[in-house]
């Protein structure tokens, strides 16, 4: 049976939903093993077992986070050799993709990013050109490296659960040689809202919010949604750049995307048009966003959103 290695970088106190999704996909492809970087809490180790991981690999060094990407790729290459895995699954974050990129070169393995589904034979499904095509692609090499987008499958624990063995993987002596070093790290305050790329619902605002994200935050709180923004709103400094959705921001494909005060420029659409349902609120009936909205309101977001929030709260009782 094929061995599938899932890379989980800094799991923290509890595994993220996207990690559980990777573990669920891994089991559908073969026998799963996990390579962890960072501290491994007992709870996390237990959950990994519950999700079918047979072996846990850990790096012999604990300073991989002090460098950008390169040393993590070296560690993973060593873990792939140790486990004889033929498929590697990683997160589809910017760093996840880059680790995959370098790992691919180290292993002579094809890398496929932005994957949304994997068939048992390793065929990967994704959408390209800003959602205008859906494609299937396959690595033509003995080992393949796939980065999978969040919300691709429903996580399911394995039956029966087993306690995984742990194995320490020695790092090559030159792992950190030609690597960029992280010399300072500024943590950002946590918002308490769901992570944008993982959220089931996203409420996004643009220039039309005119500096006031308040009505969007209220609506997001009522819906349990994440907050996103157009570049006009992030450039204006009304919200952090990490909220930007679009070509140079994040790509999201939530169940529901509520766009408020955003015109719907091509670069913004590139990040959201694979959402299942799109709702748009905009004062201007000619806005291109209405061409792709399932439900559009021509109106003032400062009237429409608070009314919707009040109605949702009323229904929630």
């Amino acid at each position: 049976m094929a061995k599938v290695l899932v890379f989980i970088d800094n799991p923290g106190q509890a595994l993220k939903k996207s990690s559980l999704e990777l573990l669920t996909i891994a089991r559908s492809l073969g026998e799963s093993v996990v390579a962890v970087n960072g501290e491994l809490h007992d709870d996390v180790a237990r959950t990994l077992g519950e999700y079918g991981a047979r072996t846990l690999y850990l790096p012999s060094a604990d300073d991989l986070d002090d460098y950008l990407v390169g040393p993590k790729a070296s560690y993973l290459a060593a873990a792939v050799h140790a486990s004889a895995a033929t498929v590697v699954l990683a997160e589809n974050s910017a760093e996840g993709k880059e680790i995959a990129a370098r790992l691919g070169i180290k292993l002579g393995a094809g890398v496929i990013t932005d994957v949304v589904a994997v068939d048992p034979d390793g065929t990967a499904h994704k959408s390209v050109l800003a959602g205008s095509y859906t494609t299937t692609a396959k690595a033509t090499t003995p080992v393949s490296v796939l980065t999978v987008k969040p919300n691709s499958v429903t996580p399911e624990p394995a039956a029966p659960a087993a306690a995984p063995d742990s194995v320490t993987v020695g790092l090559p002596a030159d792992a950190t040689a030609a690597a960029a070093r992280v010399t300072a790290r500024n943590e950002k305050p946590a918002s308490g809202r769901p992570e944008l790329t993982e959220a089931r619902i996203v409420v996004a605002g643009g220039r039309g919010v005119d500096g006031n994200f308040g009505p969007l935050e209220d609506l997001a709180d009522a819906l349990g949604a994440a907050i996103g923004a157009s570049r006009a709103a992030t450039d204006a400094g009304w919200i952090g750049h990490d909220a930007q959705i679009g070509q140079t921001g994040k790509t999201v494909s939530p169940q529901l995307y509520i766009s408020a005060g955003i015109s719907g420029a091509i670069q913004q659409k590139a990040g959201m048009q694979t959402a299942k349902v799109i709702v748009a609120v905009n004062k201007d009936a000619e806005s291109p966003v209405f061409e792709i909205a399932d439900f559009g309101v021509v109106g003032d977001l400062f009237q429409v959103l608070p009314q919707a929030t009040a109605e949702i709260k009323k229904r929630q009782g």
């Binding site: 790729a73 890398v111 990013t113 396959k138 950002k188 608070p306």
Partner: protein, 266 residues
Amino acid sequence: MKIIVLVKHVPDAQFDRHLTGAGNTTDRSESILSELDEYALEAALQLIEARGGEAAGNKVIALSMGPAGAVNAVKKSLQIGATEGVHLSDEALAGSDAAATSLALAAAIRHLGADAPADLILTGMASTDGETSLVPAQLAERLGLPQVTFAASLELDGGQLTARRDGDTHSDTVEAPLPAVVSVTDQINDPRYPNFKGIMAAKKKTITTLSLADIGVDASQVGSAGSWTAVETAEVRPPRTAGTIITDEGDAGIQLVEFLAAQKLL
């Protein structure tokens, strides 16, 4: 200082974009210089200008790999201010994935550094067509150089570079020795436009065309033959169509919620 900037000729996103042919490769007929590469070019120009410009022996080489039309990306880069242009063009390159692309670009960069190695290789944060962001990291791996990707600021001090990289939960300061491969985000600067003077000056600048033979790469290492991934099927996703559009007459918020309830989204 010698900076190589990678510039890509990509389909203009303002028009419909297509995949064509047996390998489902991107149709490049209506293509432009990838907007995200303009930030890399601007960063390179600012670095050499701060060091006395071309007069002080600094240069910015715009390197593009791609079919005949890709020379336009090089020309535009020269108009914006690059010192010289290089077009890596060979039929065998068609259909290259990120792995094959990074192999060819690494060989071209080694070739261009034969007399004096480049101090810096700059790229955009992603191409606006493939959007994988794989190439800068793969290039760094192939060249054995440090990689600093998604730089939102960039400073050089002697042989050391310092960059800021913004993530979701934290923002990092990153340091690496030169030479290095650096990709920059659209937050790093405001790219300049080519002006009349630049357009006239570009006419006198040289564009070197390189073939695979020139850079010592065999045709079997690139193109679909040398790629490690293959696109097997491609289907046009039905374009999204407009749904119900209402004009607010005082109750649109309630109608919106009714729509969400009907879609079982509450």
